[in-house]
């Protein structure tokens, strides 16, 4: 069985006579197209990066921050209960923030290391706003040195207030200090 192209498709085509197409071919083509669309969808889903820039992180009770940054400074390691903790200053091209290392993480990273954070959380601990991997997240060293950064603004040095209508969300209120007060910039 053969079909002719519908009239509206013939309009505006070149002077060649319309091509005759087999139904079978059309069907196969459609199957191929839908498959291709699926591949494309899958690819875009796979490549979809949830990576956020540090300037865009907002305090929340969710473990959903994926980000990449370089360690600028490392504070001394302290004990909190039975566990070691260590506060660091990290930054990317857009902002800096305080990152807290926990347990073995304290030994694993040094200044100059580039870290990939997955499922991190940015929240208050003892009144301080810090980024950390938390129980569900993960920090991984993915390189060193080759990343430029800024130290201003520092997301931990911003005063946030709950949103007027939806108190789950925080919005920026005012800047407490342009740069980190714990790790001041090198003069």
């Amino acid at each position: 069985m053969q079909i002719k192209l519908p009239v509206h498709l013939r309009v505006g085509l070149c002077s060649r006579p319309p091509q005759r197409v087999c139904v079978q071919e059309v069907l196969e083509r459609e199957v191929r197209l839908s498959y291709w669309n699926k591949v494309k969808q899958w690819r875009s889903w796979r490549n979809k990066s949830d990576m956020v820039l540090l300037k865009d992180i907002v305090p929340a009770a969710h473990n959903n921050i994926e980000s990449k940054f370089i360690v600028l400074e490392k504070g001394s390691t302290a004990l909190e209960g039975k566990n070691r903790i260590c506060l660091t200053l990290v930054a990317d091209e857009t902002a800096a923030v305080h990152l807290q290392l926990w347990g073995d993480e304290c030994n694993a990273f040094d200044s100059g290391d580039i870290i990939h954070l997955r499922k991190g959380i940015f929240s208050y601990q003892h009144g301080n706003l810090i980024l950390r991997a938390g129980k569900r997240g993960k920090l991984e060293k993915s390189g060193e040195f080759v990343m430029s950064y800024v130290e201003i603004p520092n997301m931990s040095e911003i005063h946030w207030i709950p949103h007027a209508t939806n108190s789950k969300y925080y919005i920026q209120d005012y800047v407490i200090s342009p740069h980190s007060r714990i790790f001041p910039p090198i003069p």
């Binding site: 600028l72 073995d104 993480e105 100059g112 991984e140 060293k141 080759v146």
Partner: protein, 469 residues
């Protein structure tokens, strides 16, 4: 059994993508890596996969290495190009992190690829030469030196015929490394290695002098650092006073100025910079803004200049910055860290006086023999900008540099002073003509500089002008 590892990845560190790909290939092809081997011709994809798997196999299973190599010989259809490219990637990206047993296998494998003249084996050798760390007399580094020097001696005939340029690269590297090894005193483990290295270098110079000419003027610079070694003192004497001993049929070596006038290709300065160090230096000079570079400099120093002896490497770094990294105009006109600023920082990181002198020589070396026709302005630009930009705040640096340059002209090679006068003055003239500095007045009329120094500079430039007209 799980595939063995190539590197010791510390906890909380991502596995290198190349290692992952080799490991996965090995795991997926494990069945086909033992005899009897399949006689079927692999598809292109499968061919690549097999090459990866075999490489991983040789590196992690020394007991089956010979079987794996036989397998490779059996399947190869591209002159070993795929295999050698993988080997090269491995050396470039992972060498310092490889386990000791893997390094042993890697060197054995390199030897094998030289034997079959696998396409691109010369690049692997050059890349391995770059992995020899400057100013490092640690066991791991000395092991690599001794493996490579042995390889070059054993494969001498083959290399000389097939890729003599690799021997030039080896000569450059071992001359440079010998200055480190001679400084180490007469420790027994060092003594044997030193003899081998001297033997290789002398063999190249005495038997294949044309390979030294290929290096160009930096060959003399390196030789001078070894003048306390009798063999090299004799060579230097012959080059200067008895050049005809290097004549061969069809080639006449008349005078050392023949070497002076050859600019050394940037490929040589790259040899003494590891790929890691190159990445970091280039990143600093292309992505970091001037004024924001302090932390990066500290990290660089912590990684590469962390011991007192490491300052000897600064000579190589300065040579690389001058000859090996030439930024495009967009970067020169932007606010990115300029080369002169980085060199200024490196210069202030040197403690010993003779290192400072060597660093300055590295900075000015192309000035002495500058000839517009063969030299590039980019090699001499950092020194003049460092002098000019240091005037406002660090005039003592300007002073020290200018004094050193004038001193070089007078004393570097007294017999050929006219060459240096001409070189330095034409360097200055070109820098002014091309607008790198507006005029020599910034130096000659600078009130902060000593009058006698300015007078000498004026005289030098005038002399050069008379000489050239």
């Amino acid at each position: 059994m799980a595939a063995l590892k190539l590197t010791l990845t510390p906890p909380l560190e991502a596995e290198n993508a190349l290692e992952t790909s080799l490991r996965e290939a090995f795991e997926s092809q494990k069945q086909s890596l033992r005899p009897p081997f399949s006689l079927a011709i692999p598809s292109p994809d499968q061919y690549t996969l097999l090459n990866r798997a075999i490489l991983h196999g040789v590196l992690t299973e020394p007991q089956f290495a010979k079987t794996h190599i036989k397998h490779l010989h059996a399947i190869v259809t591209d002159g070993y190009a795929t295999f050698v490219t993988l080997l090269l990637d491995l050396v470039n990206h992972l060498y310092p992190k490889l386990l000791a047993s893997v390094k042993t296998q890697l060197l054995w494998l390199t030897d094998q690829t030289v034997c079959v003249l696998g396409i691109g084996y010369d690049a692997v050798l050059v890349s391995l030469l770059r992995q020899i760390v400057g100013a490092d007399c640690g066991d791991v580094n000395l092991w690599l030196c001794s493996k490579l020097v042995t390889l070059f001696l054993e494969q001498w005939d083959c290399l000389l015929e097939d890729s003599p340029h690799v021997l030039s690269f080896a000569l450059y590297t071992f001359l440079r490394v010998l200055t480190d090894h001679c400084r180490g005193g007469s420790v027994e483990k060092l003594e044997t290695l030193k003899r081998l290295e001297i033997h290789l270098c002398v063999k190249i110079v005495r038997e294949e002098f044309h390979l030294c000419l290929k290096i160009g003027r930096d060959f003399i610079r390196l030789l001078q650092d070894l003048v306390h070694v009798p063999e090299f003192r004799a060579i230097l004497k012959d080059i200067v006073f008895n050049p005809c001993v290097f004549n061969v049929v069809g080639f006449e070596f008349k005078d050392v100025s023949q070497i002076y006038s050859t600019r050394t290709s940037s490929r040589y300065s790259l040899l003494r910079i590891s790929p890691d160090m190159e990445t970091q230096l280039r990143f600093l000079l292309t992505s970091i803004k001037l004024g924001n570079q302090k932390r990066h400099q500290v990290w660089f120093g912590k990684k590469f200049l962390n011991e007192p002896d490491k300052e000897f490497v600064i000579v190589d770094i300065v040579r690389f910055i001058c000859c090996g990294h030439h930024p495009p105009n967009e970067i020169i006109q932007s606010d990115i860290v300029p080369r002169w600023a980085l060199i200024g920082w490196l210069l202030t990181s040197c403690r010993r006086n003779h290192v400072v002198a060597n660093v300055k020589l590295a900075l000015f070396y192309d000035w002495l023999f500058f000839d517009e026709r063969v030299d590039t302005i980019m090699n001499i630009e950092p020194a003049v900008l460092l002098m000019v930009h240091s005037i406002p705040k660090y005039v003592d640096i300007t002073h020290a540099l200018l004094e050193f340059l004038l001193h070089l002209v007078d004393s570097y090679d007294v017999e050929r002073k006219s060459v240096m006068v001409k070189g330095v003055s034409s360097a200055f003239q070109l820098l002014v003509r091309k607008g790198v500095i507006r005029s020599l007045d910034v130096l000659i009329s600078c009130p902060a500089l000593h009058p006698a120094l300015k007078e000498r500079l004026k005289k030098l430039v005038a002399c050069g002008m008379i000489g050239s007209s």
